[in-house]
Amino acid sequence: MTTPLGDSGWTKELRRARLHFVTGKGGTGKTTVAASLGLALASGGRRVLLVEVEGRQGIAQLFDTEPMPYGERHLVSAPDGGELCALHIDAEAALLEYFEMFYNLGFAGRTLRRMGAIEFATTLAPGLRDVLLTGKIKECVSRRESDGRHTYDHVVVDSPPTGRVVKFLDVTRALSDITKSGPIRGQAEGVVKLLHSPETAVHLVTLLEEMPIRETLEAIDELAKAKLRPGAVLINRVRPPRLPSRSVSAAADGRVNTSRVRSGLEAAGLELAPDVLDGLVAETVEHAIRIAAERAAMEQLGEANQPRIEIPDITEGVDVASLYEIADLLVEKGVR
């Protein structure tokens, strides 16, 4: 059942991307979708790195594993011989890594960290934190094995929410916070190039509700202004419309043909007390109002003209098995 507004599948342009940022308003299920996208991209024998940048251990919670240290590690196997790895990037650890690499600090570096100086530096220059995080991501994307192949076929980043994502990715602007020379600067220029290239896509997770849709549209706009590429809009938790579509608007206005419902139920052998019937009708009206609102939201989303993918709701709640289900579905829609 594809409406003209519905699913458009994974486009050719999206297939060129190797670096996938997944953003969305809080509560839309961005981590779940990022993990499922990682599994989908890894299926069929590929190797994908799932990255977390906000220090809240969402990946560990989702996969029910120990909190992750700062380091890449195997997370799970993907369908048909693929592998999903994970990395929890900590800006402070990344900064220390730099210091170790370029200044050979050793002991003093650790002392600085104990004094809170590393946190201090990353807080004082907010742009520095983003430059460090995206710098580490770029290193993962470009790394190659001794045979010349990329270490990771794809890198998927569980990114900051829509309100902050453009700032996070707009490394050019962040650079104004740091000095005009030095190793971090040099690397940041490479990051800018990667983030603005067709190798990078910023996907947006949304629900069919007013606020998430509005934030999604705003983010698409901001991304375009910052010359970053908005990718797919991933519409999460889509619930099946149960009412015949011609009944929706009347029911949303509270007009449900109760006698028709009653006779239908009786035909199926259900004789219900009046209060039960009233309850069913009230549930139907609420359902219809929601469906009507979702339709309006979908139409609004159509304005953005981005590829759209629908992900069905999982009523029982998301567990590791359901991540594979969503991944299968994404593969069916052309994700690779």
């Binding site: 907010p126 030095g182 043909n257």
Partner: protein, 380 residues
């Protein structure tokens, strides 16, 4: 399933000893709407109430008559809305609150210098934690004004509910930090009690930091902090004062969470943290639940729907039965998640607030949520 104590909202907001209610929770759970509905209900029940909202949805703001950031409370005056008390509302303007704080606390002439500092531009707009700090600052001002007998506070939309407690401290420790002095003049680092063996390495490390973030930024920061701390008494002291306010007897916390695993996990962290800090938690608002409205088991409903489909008649009745079965499944899931929360925190009272089918866009909608918050007027 574990049975939670009932959270009695009306007793809380009617109690004249309740002066401040802080609504916390992770992003996207409906904190702002809950705050507004609470304030409306309190006003209609006779209290002189102000609600401090952080980043309301446009329609919610309009329903309170707030068209723009004002940074001072505005009385909600809408035709047909005649509460027994008064309802005032405001949206936080982070930058202006910060400017006002500086102007109010510095000597004449000094303020302009502070406001013009390039470092101030960064702190007041892009520091993480500034919004939380300023929400607290504004709350402190509203309390000091003494014009309202009940203040309802919404908290910034952070990933974690804990940010609200941690951010002001984090910000103030950076801004008050002696590290600035250390980094701008490492020679005088002796005050740190740093052992001599470290000193050489330390000098190198501080040089590394200033190489990365730039000497100019450090100089600006240092100048700003010296000027600010000497006039306004320092960020840390102010943060400590607001923390005291949060611990005072008239303040209550409500944790708002959607019946979803992530939101409830955040709520759990928050509940534990509040009790560690001996801050008074009133209870959990389980926002946007979907209780079933008709007593009909899912198996029966689905069997009937299938028989209707087979005979090809009664498509409307079949649809009604299916959507009822969906709703039952959703309700069961929500109850299971809430029961899990209650098992972990048996002492925390809970109230479930059934979801409205559409977003709130007027006073009437807020009133319905207020009724549901108080445990009345649910559709069941």
């Amino acid at each position: 399933m574990a049975k939670a104590k009932h959270l009695d909202i009306d007793t809380l907001i009617d109690n004249p000893k309740t002066k401040v209610v802080v609504c916390c929770g992770s992003g996207g759970v409906g904190k702002t709407t809950t705050s507004a509905a609470l304030a409306l209900r309190a006003a209609e029940r006779g209290r002189t109430t102000v609600v401090l909202t952080i980043d309301p949805a446009r329609r919610l703001a309009q329903s309170l008559g707030l068209e723009e950031l004002g940074n001072v409370p505005k009385r909600v005056e809408i035709a047909g809305f005649e509460p027994a008390g008064e309802l005032w509302a405001m949206m936080l303007d982070m930058r202006r609150t910060f400017d006002d704080m500086i102007i109010a606390h510095s000597e004449p002439g000094r303020a302009d210098e502070l406001l013009a500092s390039p470092f101030y531009q960064t702190v007041s707009t892009s520091f993480s934690g500034t919004q939380e700090y300023m929400a607290m600052e504004k709350l402190g001002q509203l309390v000091a004004d003494g014009e309202w007998d009940l203040i309802i506070v919404d908290t910034p939309p952070s990933r974690s509910a804990l940010d609200f407690l941690d951010a002001p401290n984090r910000l103030s420790s950076v801004l008050d930090s002696r590290l600035i002095k250390l980094l701008t003049s490492p020679a005088r680092a002796s005050g740190w009690g740093v052992r001599k063996a470290f000193t050489a390495g330390l000098a190198m490390a501080t040089k590394a930091i200033s190489t990365v973030i730039g000497g100019q930024l450090l100089t600006d920061a240092s100048a700003f902090m010296q000027a600010f701390n000497s006039t306004a008494g320092g960020f840390k002291e102010r943060a400590t004062k607001t923390a005291e306010l949060l611990r005072s007897p008239g303040t209550s916390f409500l944790v708002v969470a959607a019946p979803e695993p992530d939101a409830l996990r955040e709520a759990s962290y928050f509940v534990e943290r509040l009790s560690d800090e001996s801050m008074p938690l009133q209870g959990l608002v389980a926002n946007r639940t979907h209780p079933v409205l008709a007593d009909l088991p899912a198996t029966k409903a689905l069997a009937a729907a299938e028989s209707l489909d087979k005979d090809g008649n009664g498509p409307l009745a079949a649809a009604v039965l299916r959507l009822h079965a969906d709703r039952l499944a959703l309700d069961q899931r929500e109850q299971r998640l809430l029961a899990r929360f209650t098992r972990a925190h048996p002492g925390v009272p809970v109230v479930g607030v059934p979801a409205l089918p559409s977003d709130v866009s007027d006073i009437a909608g807020l009133r319905v949520i207020g009724e549901r918050l108080s445990g009345n007027g649910t559709a069941r």
